[in-house]
């Protein structure tokens, strides 16, 4: 069975076969260490591998039983893990210690092709194409035109039908707050002046947008009574000790909901921006670049808190078209 080597000087023990050394003229006998397994005593390693396979067998049986009995995911996972792990361990040990380790080698041709190879390929490609195309220049132009139209016309509706144009819903620049909208809790209850104690905070929405991601607003009672003026020009915005700010962080849009009563600051949990309420929710810490827009409030004759108007600027994080010509507030 062993093939007879033809190398000159290949004269290993008869019937033992002889391997050829990569370097010419140096035959290597079949009992050279390259062909030996890494285990010095393969019987022992065999024992370990066998034990691992047996463990795997029992573990997978246990997994089957556990699955049948609808055991907890803990039991399922541990039995499965042990079964797979021991099986894998056995295979690796078998390969690593009980199979020939070499080192063996194979040649590796250079990747770079020769100039002739390239030239021949390019010439064939170019000439065939040239002949095919030159005779039918008219067809080529038609194909180009049809292809271009196809690409554009197919791509356009495909992309365009994914969603509305950004400003179509007006949601970039406006929220659902309107003049007179009652500040309403998520349960749908309109908030009255006496509902919240000093230091209290709740999330409110316009009544027609409960839970709205953009109109969500924090309402905080900072003091018992009196108008709070956080910025010049906002003389009437904070009646009866109440302040309302957009709950959408101007950094990346997380809900800003942690209120620190002592310092009158709002904290955003995402990247820890801090907003100073008494200063018009000016950011005093963290990456938020702009204050939270303030919702102007008033208290109606029945004691309900209502919005004087929508926010006077786009709420939330910035975007390319914010401010300037595309911002309707500037128009």
């Amino acid at each position: 069975m062993p093939e007879v080597p033809e190398t000159p000087g290949a004269d290993g023990p008869a019937g033992n076969g002889v391997g050829r050394h990569p370097h010419p003229g140096a035959p290597i006998p079949i009992d050279s260490p390259q062909f030996q397994v890494a285990a010095k005593n393969p019987r022992r390693v065999e024992g370990v591998v066998a034990a691992a396979f047996v463990a795997s067998f029992f573990a997978i049986a246990a997994f089957g039983a556990a699955y049948w009995q609808a055991a907890s995911s803990w039991v399922l996972g541990v039995t499965l893990g042990i079964a797979l792990g021991t099986f894998g361990f056995a295979l690796v040990a078998w390969g690593k210690y009980l199979m020939p380790q070499g080192p063996f080698e194979e040649p590796r041709p250079q990747m770079a092709t020769t100039k002739e190879e390239k030239d021949e390929f390019v010439a064939d490609f170019a000439t065939r194409g040239k002949i095919a195309v030159e005779r039918r220049g008219f067809l080529v132009k038609l194909m180009g035109a049809a292809g271009a139209v196809l690409g554009v016309v197919v791509a356009f509706p495909l992309i365009r039908s994914l969603g509305p144009r950004p400003n179509q819903e007006q949601s970039l620049y406006h929220t659902k707050w309107r003049k007179g909208a009652k500040l309403t809790s998520i349960e749908g209850r309109a908030v009255k002046v006496d509902d919240i104690e000093v230091g209290g905070i709740i999330t409110v929405f316009p009544p027609d947008d409960l839970g709205g991601a953009f109109s969500q607003t924090v309402l905080i009672r900072v003091q018992q009574s009196g108008n709070i003026v956080t910025q010049p020009g906002r003389e009437t915005w904070g009646p009866d000790g109440y302040l309302a700010f957009s709950k959408v962080c101007t950094h990346a849009g997380c809900p800003v909901g942690l209120y620190e009563e002592l310092t009158e600051q709002l904290l955003c949990p995402c990247h820890q921006s801090l907003f100073q309420l008494s200063d018009g929710a000016m950011p005093v810490f963290g990456p938020a670049p702009r204050p939270l827009p303030q919702l102007p409030l008033y208290v109606d004759s029945k004691g309900y808190l209502r919005a004087q108007a929508d926010y006077d600027e786009p709420i939330g994080p910035g975007f390319w078209y914010r401010g300037g010509a595309n911002n309707e507030y500037a128009q």
Binding site: S32, F35, T86, A93, F319
Partner: protein, 498 residues
């Protein structure tokens, strides 16, 4: 029976003619080559567990009232996505295990890709002719990160929903097209109802297909180039030295697949991951505490935190704050990675083919540069825990944040010269990094003592051997002739890289 079946097939595909040499394909033996294998195997685990999940997961944000077996949630209005993930965790037999294995495999997958990449970088494995494969691998990393984010978003829980909100803001921040991208992807304004089904189909079909395709290209190119190898006895640019695919490598690699899967199963069983029933359903107005993304998003989260509160106002337009850490930084990062093989070739003027890998110490400049850049991202990763650290160390957030702002500039500047110096020292110290040998103390006849180094692990060492060309030896004869040898133990083969 098997014979005739094989014969029938072979007459139609001619495997025995075209595929014979595959049996002899040589794989270099170095532990660092296993890292890429871990990535491959955990991707297979992702496919298997992922298919299981699709059988039960309902990709829809339609509200339903939860009536399942998890008592604390009963009666709450949740989305079908959240409802089905809860049921997957509590009601489906083996469901929680599959979910947790899937999630663990995702973390291992991206981790293995990153470490694999570092291995290739520091050993110069990206040099000609492997530049294209380096770029392909980078694309795979990007796709893996994206798909991990998409999967993380599917259960519609409070933490992942917050992540989607941030993703919306990041998309919006891109100049010119940002709002269009965001509105087209979300089918309108945030949150809408389209995002879960869309993320789902991207997550289970589009991106996995892309990954499979690119992976095939990645491995195909690997076969074409054959593995690069570390210098060692007989290893040259024009050969590959190692063990043959059949049977040695096949046993080791096949076993390693089961090991990887087994470890993933154990992790999925023992270490809880993403317990969404504790977070609750996502509502846009609900505040979540300790928002932490999966680890591979950590550097972005950290970058968002350390970025100073700047924004650029242009006439009529704005470049928002998040654009810099979340669009510009990753853009630069990945473009730098893509371009690195070409930058290095330009700098070193070396455009020759290389199949022998570098030892990191032998290329101090590359190693130091890589270490400094990696350190920068590592600091950013740490910065994603500013709040946790401040709590834990009882210092103010202000101190922690400013420390990180300073660290992400200082650490790379320090790491560069230190890494450079270590490389140079290691390179110039013979035997550095090699296993210490025992000393033998010898007393001479006139009473003087001297030490000499003992043999490494006496009796256990087999000297590094000359490689044997496989196509010229009869492996079958050699394997059948192989007899039991010494008393016990296994051989160790010290490598000589010089």
């Amino acid at each position: 029976m098997i014979d005739s079946l094989f014969s029938w097939i072979d007459d139609r595909v001619a495997l025995s003619r075209s595929g014979r040499h595959l049996l002899d394909k040589i794989f270099p033996d170095h532990w660092s080559f296993m890292i890429g294998e871990i990535a491959l195997y955990s991707f297979i685990v992702l496919l298997l567990t992922g298919v299981f999940l699709t059988l039960y997961f309902v990709p829809s944000s339609t509200p339903v009232v939860y009536h399942g077996i998890y008592a604390p949630l009963r009666g709450q209005t949740v989305s079908e996505a959240y409802d089905s993930t809860i049921n997957l965790s509590f009601a489906v037999r083996g469901g929680l295990l599959m979910r947790q294995m899937h999630h663990w495999a995702a973390n291992i997958f991206v981790g293995a890709i990153v470490v694999h990449m570092l291995r290739v970088f520091f050993t110069g494995g990206f040099r000609r002719p492997r530049e294209a494969n380096w770029m392909l691998g980078t694309t795979l990393l990007i796709l893996a990160i994206f798909n991990g984010f998409l999967g993380y978003s599917l259960p519609d829980d409070l933490i992942s929903g917050t992540g989607i909100r941030i993703a919306f803001s990041i998309m919006e921040s891109i100049p010119f097209v940002g709002t269009y991208l965001a509105y087209f992807l979300f089918g309108g304004s945030f949150p809408g109802t389209a995002i879960i089904p869309r993320f789902f189909i991207l997550h289970v079909l589009v991106l996995p297909l892309l990954i499979i395709g690119l992976l095939a290209g990645h491995l195909g190119m690997l076969v074409k180039h054959k593995h690069a190898q570390f210098p060692g006895k007989g290893a040259r640019d024009d050969n590959v030295v190692g063990s043959p695919l059949w049977p040695t490598y096949a046993a080791k690699a096949g076993g390693f697949f089961f090991l990887t899967t087994g470890v993933t199963a154990l992790l999925g069983a023992i270490v809880q991951i993403n317990p969404i029933w504790q977070y609750g359903q996502y509502y846009a107005y609900k505040v979540s505490y300790a928002v932490q993304p999966d680890w591979y998003m950590g550097w972005l989260d950290g970058a968002l935190r350390v970025m100073p509160a700047w924004e650029i106002n242009l006439p009529g337009h704005m470049i928002p704050n998040v654009f810099f850490p979340a669009v510009l930084l990753p853009g630069l990062t990945f473009n730098l990675i893509y371009a690195w093989p070409f930058i290095e070739a330009k700098l070193s003027g070396d455009t020759a083919e290389h199949h022998l890998l570098d030892r990191p110490r032998d290329k101090p400049l590359r190693t130091a540069l890589g270490a400094a850049v990696f350190a920068f991202y590592f600091v950013l990763f740490g910065a994603s825990a500013t709040d946790v650290l401040a709590n834990y160390l009882s210092i103010t957030l202000n101190v922690v944040l400013w420390s990180f702002r300073i660290l992400c500039i200082v650490v790379p500047i320090v790491v560069f010269p230190v890494a450079y110096k270590i490389c140079v020292e290691l390179r110039d110290t013979p035997g550095a990094g090699q296993r210490k040998r025992h000393n033998i103390i010898v007393r001479s006849a006139d009473g003087g003592y001297s030490t000499i180094a003992a043999d490494e692990y006496p009796g256990y060492v087999r000297p590094e051997l000359e490689p044997v060309a496989l196509d010229e030896v009869d492996l079958v004869a050699a394997m059948s002739a192989d007899a039991d040898q010494g008393p016990e133990g296994v051989y160790r083969i010290p490598r000589d890289y010089s």
